[in-house]
Amino acid sequence: MVQCDCATQGTNAMSPDTAANSYRLGPDEWGHFGLYGGRYVAETLMPLISEVGAAYRNAKNDPAFHEEMGYFHKHYTGRPSPLYFAERLTAYLGGAKIYFKRDELNHTGSHKINNCLGQILLARRMGKTRIIAETGAGQHGVAAATVCARFDLPCTVYMGAVDIDRQAPNVFRMRLLGAEVKAVESGSRTLKDALNEALRDWVAHVHDTFYIIGTAAGPAPYPEMVRDFQCVIGDEARAQIMEAEGRLPDTVVACIGGGSNAIGLFHPFLDDPDVRIVGVEAAGRGLETGAHAASLAGGCPGVLHGNRTYLLQNEDGQITDAHSISAGLDYPGIGPEHAWLKDMGRADYVSATDAEALEAFQLCTRLEGIIPALEPAHALAWVVRTAPNLPRDHILVMNMCGRGDKDVFSVSEALGINL
């Protein structure tokens, strides 16, 4: 399908809010980040979405909620995650001083647990007795199934049939954890369809079910709520770099699919004008091929899954399929706050291809003894490309948001190696 061309399409353009004193005040009361965000859902869900919003506001202001979350962060997830100076990668690239924020060391192996923990504690406060979730690569599904096991709530995870084939180990892991994994056969049978199916389940079970959305997207309050739960990454990194270097970093960088790990790292630095913020989208086989998942670089504004944001779509407003070697980035949309930050010019959004990510994946593994997930391997690819041209006193913090054990099969296949 032909991708839409934003320059020639009417987008009912509204300019984003003029720069406020702070980039950290959003969203507004209705969940808007400038033009983006909002609550675009069927009427059946509207009252429920409002209920989740009210419950979240209440929890956010309740010290007991934060205390409970802090306890599980520390004793269950293993927070704080270290900020690690990647000495050998730094020496190899010969430029910027590179730090990894090591969220891949979290329980379940990625940043996803930060969000799942927050949401399940909220679900319990709301008296919900059943959890649903969507998953692409399976990392969010595993994290959701994990907290459901821990808090003894039944869990149904929707996963595209295509992804189920690609991610068999995670499917088994979810089932071991007691979750029911439902294959989604509609549409392109990937993450976006899993989201549709989860929303349909939710519409049909509004009274007892809580939907744990895996990224900082969806109808309000999810983008804000997921961001808040992931901000533990940036809050820790900020304190840790102050301790290690006595100053703020020059650049923070993270990969972006829906963008939850990135917004978690970025948000605490948004009002530090000297900190450059870089999000790395998945360029797949190359932006020019159309086979990519870079919604900001290759998409235009639209409405999907409850929010307005940049989407991969054709000129008729039909959603097109995303492609990335990383199943976790393989989504045709992006969290609305990133869409706003892009338009505001506060963050730079760049991209890395499948091939670049594969290179970076191998380099990091050999130099640092850390097998990154294919998702942060995209951020790493940008670091590998950029760091050599930066001065040695340039401090760069990259979010290592997931570990790569899950990806060894995809990588061996991409490298043409039979296991």
Partner: protein, 267 residues
């Protein structure tokens, strides 16, 4: 008076409800889709609800999603939907046509252009499933300006605090979603529907149609006894999906049965 208001007024005079028939526009292709619209009216449909297909119809069940996918595969898009309505209007200038869809295709088309082109094609009203009143300003202005009715969905989960917000700017008719769920998957409890309609009537004088889960003539009849309209979609779209050389005839037979169910309900 708009076509929608005229039709409901005429039906009220003879004490019967409207049979509202839904199909995805251009399912399975443009020409057959046009023939289906004409057959539905011949068979007794009082109002046509034409779906604008979307790749990600989150409020629809598998039947209607499949219908939309067939239309998309046959090259339907927003412009072709208008062509379809225009072609239908050549022979029928009375039957109200309501477009039902999701916001993204409308947004990409441009809301102002959409409203103008829809009106020019002969569309009477819009149902935008995922555009709640809180987000609809950019469409409502152009739609009202073009004289299109904004048909609101009201759900079983909608409470009385929210109802006034939904009904304040509603026009044409109110569409009551009879089940907590997606299209074509469950059947409503008539006791609940009756109670809900009684509640709605305390808040609005607009006609109330009921849909999402009405599949048989019996169900349509039961709804027609208490509501001003019964909407059937998935059952018709299913027949289209089954296909075959007698598909048009089977759709006609089903539509006629449903129309009889509605027409005879208050007899």
């Amino acid at each position: 008076m708009s076509r929608i208001a005229t039709r409901f007024a005429a039906l009220r005079k003879v004490n019967r409800a409207a049979f509202v028939a839904f199909v995805s526009g251009g399912d399975p292709d443009f020409d057959t889709g046009l023939a289906i619209l004409r057959r539905l009216v011949e068979a007794g449909a009082d109002i046509l609800e034409i779906g604008i297909s979307f790749t990600d119809p989150m409020a629809d069940g598998p039947t209607i999603q499949a219908g939309g996918a067939r239309a998309l595969a046959a090259g339907m898009n927003t412009k072709r939907i208008f062509d379809l309505v225009r072609a239908f209007r050549v022979e029928d200038n009375d039957t109200p046509v309501v477009l039902m869809g999701y916001f993204n295709p409308i947004y990409r088309y441009g809301t102002a252009r959409f409203a103008t082109d829809a009106r020019a094609a002969g569309v009477d009203g819009l149902i935008t499933v995922d555009l709640p009143p809180e987000e609809e300003d950019e469409l409502r202005g152009p739609a009202e300006g073009a004289g299109l009715d904004i048909v609101r969905l009201v759900a079983p989960t909608t409470d009385e605090e929210r109802l006034p917000l939904l009904l304040e700017r509603a026009s044409g008719f109110v569409y009551y979603v009879s089940i907590v769920g997606i299209t074509g998957t469950r059947s409503p409890s008539m006791v609940d529907v009756e109670y809900a309609i009684a509640r709605l009537r305390r808040f609005t004088d607009l006609p109330v149609a009921v849909g999402f889960g009405i599949n048989t003539a019996e169900q349509a009849g039961a709804v027609a006894r208490v509501a001003d309209g019964a909407v059937v979609g998935s059952a018709l779209v299913h027949e289209i999906g089954v296909g075959g050389s007698d598909m048009l005839d089977r759709v006609s037979v089903l539509a006629r049965t449903l129309a009889h169910g509605v027409a005879g309900a208050r007899a």
